[in-house]
Amino acid sequence: MSDIYGLVRGPLAVVAILVFVVGIIYQARQFFSLTRERPVVLPPASVLGKVGQSSGPSLNAINNSILGVHPYLTVITSIVHACLVLVPIFLLAHNVLLYESLGFNLFAFPEPVSDAFTLIVILGGVFFFLRRILVRRVRVITTFYDYFILLIVVAPFLTGYLATHQWFDYQTMLIVHILAGEVMLVAIPFTKLKHGLLFFLYRYLMHYEHSLGSGTRVWSYSKLAK
């Protein structure tokens, strides 16, 4: 048993973290090599002032935003995603491990906070699972893969929670937890989970909102006339 623990905690963890980091860098590099900046063409200054006895900005802008259209979903998904990213980084136990391995550690949440955040992620998983099953428009575009991805994400949190509270055999649960975490790390750069990265990268392609750069990158195989 302790052999397995040693393996998942030692070499496997190193491999998983390396794959994660290298994978992320690889994906980002791929993105930038497959896209290129397109120059922005600005309208003549006169246009910006001239036309339009305009109505001014809409008073109901928020109604048309995702927050306005899906208030609950927006709030839930934002909180769940925040917890999902924060908990693993600022968990006390993880920071103890970090200190033991590398001699430094980050700030850590108090245990009850981590506990609550973990539960939020697990409940979020349940929420997204039910949503996939119950909401027709989500169901019609859901594939087995989407459930699988959900499982990969929730597993480390669920097993971590169970291990912390020692509900089943602690040693086994801990090993399963570490494995699940490693699977997730490895999966992030190479599955849909890379949306954590691409969410930001794709803003280089979007000129209409929350752009990065001027949002004018285009896929580089597009042969543009000058």
Partner: protein
């Protein structure tokens, strides 16, 4: 939507005569819908041109291609790859599309295969009717939803003039209803006749110069 019609074949023939390889580019937007410049019309025109020029012993190599909009460069990607292989381009878009294509490929002669005729509505299959002159100063609120700029022969903002016949038609053409008589009837039926008495100041005639517009919400993007 923008309504267009194909130019006479002889006119198109004269444009492309003398070019060896021509690409006829259709548009998937308005001119497809008004049945003037979609994929089907591209095929038809190409066949017609080959036949007509063939009869004069002129060999024309003409290919057809359609992009979804010729008025938006986002749709030009596939055309960009092809355009360079041709001596001339024939566009079956409206005037907007033709100019956009010509601007995109400044070294290639670009010819219009259509005449752009008006902004209009679909009355029935293949039947379109002009309903807006895009004057930029809409008065439909006061005219019972009938556009005097488009429908009145004189484009009068305040009417009717003295040329309305007794039967309610226009002095210019006995088949054309007087727009202002139509407006009168509609407003009367709605009990809003007082609208016709309002004097509307002269138009700014802004459409005499080229117009350009940035929507309010997007101005920030261009001011930077």
């Amino acid at each position: 939507m923008i309504i267009a019609e194909r130019k006479p074949l002889d006119e198109i023939k004269d444009m492309v005569r003398g070019y060896k390889r021509v690409l006829n580019v259709g548009c998937g937007g308005c001119t497809s819908i008004c049945l003037a410049g979609g994929q089907k019309e591209v095929n038809t025109l190409n066949a017609d041109l080959k036949k007509a020029l063939g009869a004069e012993d002129v060999h024309l190599e003409i290919d057809g291609f359609v992009i979804e909009r010729q008025c938006n460069y986002d749709f030009f990607e596939a055309l960009d790859e092809k355009a360079g292989n041709y001596d001339a381009i024939l566009s079956m878009a409206c005037g907007v599309g033709v100019q956009f294509v010509a601007e995109r490929y400044p070294e290639t002669p670009v010819f219009p295969a259509l005449n752009t005729v008006f902004c209009g509505a679909d009355r029935d299959i293949g039947w379109f009717e002009e309903s807006c002159r895009t004057c930029g100063e809409c008065v439909l609120a006061e005219t019972g939803g009938i556009c005097p700029v488009t429908r009145c022969a004189k484009g009068l903002f305040n009417g009717p003039c003295g040329g309305t016949r007794l039967d309610g038609t226009c002095e210019v053409d006995k088949d054309t209803p007087c727009a202002w008589y139509e407006i009168y009837k509609r407003l009367k039926a709605q009990g809003r006749l007082e609208n016709i008495l309002k004097i509307k100041p002269p138009r700014q005639w802004e459409n005499q110069t080229r117009r350009s517009l940035v929507q309010e919400d997007y101005k920030q993007r261009y001011i930077g």
